[in-house]
Amino acid sequence: MALLETQGLTKRFGGLTATDDVNLAVEEGEVVSVIGPNGAGKTTLINQITRLLDPSEGDIVFKGESIVEAEPHEVAQRGVSKSFQTASIFPDLTVEQNAEIAALGAEHGSFRLNFFRHRNQYPGVSEGTRKTLEAVSLWQKRNTPASDLPYGDKRRLEIGIALASEPDLLLMDEPTAGMSPEETNATVSLVETVKEELGLTLVLIEHDMEIVFGISDRIIVLNRGRVIAEGTPEEIQGDPDVQEAYLGGADL
């Protein structure tokens, strides 16, 4: 059984169909990349899976259960995490507190009546916080306010927040956008390491084809909201439809 499945997922904005009858299945442990030209519907697809947007039609199944009626926080609690395209962090909090919030969310659930219980009664949280920050190499900077971090570190913290909530499925929206080549390399190896260590399933939206072809087990190509191709990197590379979609068949 697939970990994540979308069935006939369609989202219309007025007259525009942003995703059109998208059926995809992501198996456990896979790295799947979603690519496509600008406006192909990639981000809309992710936003429906995280339940930020309501699909117009179709169903989303995660771990065998439909999540199409669930609230975003419920989807997160079930094990879907997302790293945002822009660093969506808690700017005035320290790096450690940023990760602590996410770890707390994973450890302690969506809501509890424990407002008189001291936070240090949750040792699992500080453990998770430290592990995450070490994984994204920000433990040394744990006392820095997040807003003072350089851009690359902010993006790593963003990924760290997504990891600290202990997901089974991690959706990454352009994790290397705006990064220097060094930062990009570091991020790619970071993604590969955490994937190995935590046994994550990854769905990646990415523009950098080098990364996509290097890291993916499978690639899904969207164009104008539709899946036009799906397969291993080798299969995608030779697909004429894909080359057509990317502006007159430039060589990938």
Binding site: P72, S88, L104, G109, S110, F115, F116, R119, S165
Partner: protein, 383 residues
Amino acid sequence: MSDESANPTDAPETEADGGKTLGGSASENTVTRLRTRWEGARDREVTVIGLTIVGVAVFPYLFARAPVVSDLLQGYQELASLMLVWGIFAIGFDILLGRTGLLSFGHAALWGTGAYAAGWASANITEFPLLVVLIGVSVTVVLSVVLGFLSLRRGGIYFAILTLAFAQMIYYMASAPLSFITGGDNGFTGVEIGSFLGVFDLGTELPSIAGTLIGTWRYAFIGAFLVFSVAAIHRVLNSPYGIVFRAIRENEQRAQFVGFNVWRYKLAAFVLSGTFAGLAGALFTIHGQYVPLSSLYWQTSGEVVIMTVLGGVGSLLGPLFGAGIYLWVEYIVSGGYPFEWIAPYWLLVLGLVFVSVVVLFPEGVWGLVGDLRRRVATRLEEQ
């Protein structure tokens, strides 16, 4: 200033980092070490409670009886009590405004309901002060849930408008249709407060030194609730709620995406702050033995907003100072001697100060004091 909500175990590390930025060689300095110990200790609950108790105990003496100081401030015992009552209101309000980032313009409804419920209970059910307070708080908690539920249906800017609107609805209910309970425009007059534990008349003075310092039993009664409130809020801020509230304030969507039910935490923040508003309202009745209709009017909501912002949002004790400053200006400065030159303009001055705090010093008076303290500390270390 947010030290109190940081994890206590972090404090020494935070300080070490601070020492580094101030210049490496100075970190061995005695002052730094003392400061490290001081800041570490300050986070501990016992310290916070202890300092609050000392402050509450000494304040009436300084304000109303001490030589020189009390002459300068023109303070008196009953105003000291009133400051504590509003102080509880303001520190509770800050759970919502300073921590969670939600601005309510409807807390008059909660404060006023606490006051009316306490007054009504004292006239009809029991004269025991503790029970009167308990009834006032309980009724307010129920109302907070309803009001919070309605006002949080829409996000963002709607919250301030909706809290304001529903609070005004309650004001108009009390003013006319329910005037057979509330006394309408005349306010609620039948308040009957008995003696504490059936023994101590709240109006009398405490014996010996305690009387000199603290003054009346009424002040002691209210002061005990202030200490309790500070302790309770300190604990809440160090519970998971504290950090979730801050997460919501900083980035609501992110907080949702790491799995928190943001809506419920907002409601929780509203109800928690409503609880303290109800407590303060009930104590207001015990203090004044009368409930004016204006306690429900939106000007009261505005006052607690001003106090909180003036004192410093997001700090445990800042709003307390804000309440003190506001009431001091309202009761002493507006009264004339020796402030005749400014008395007619007192609210205009407060308004202007409030606007400049919003524009220039978002951390309020408490933040300025903190800056000053840090600057002095830096100066000391450099020497």
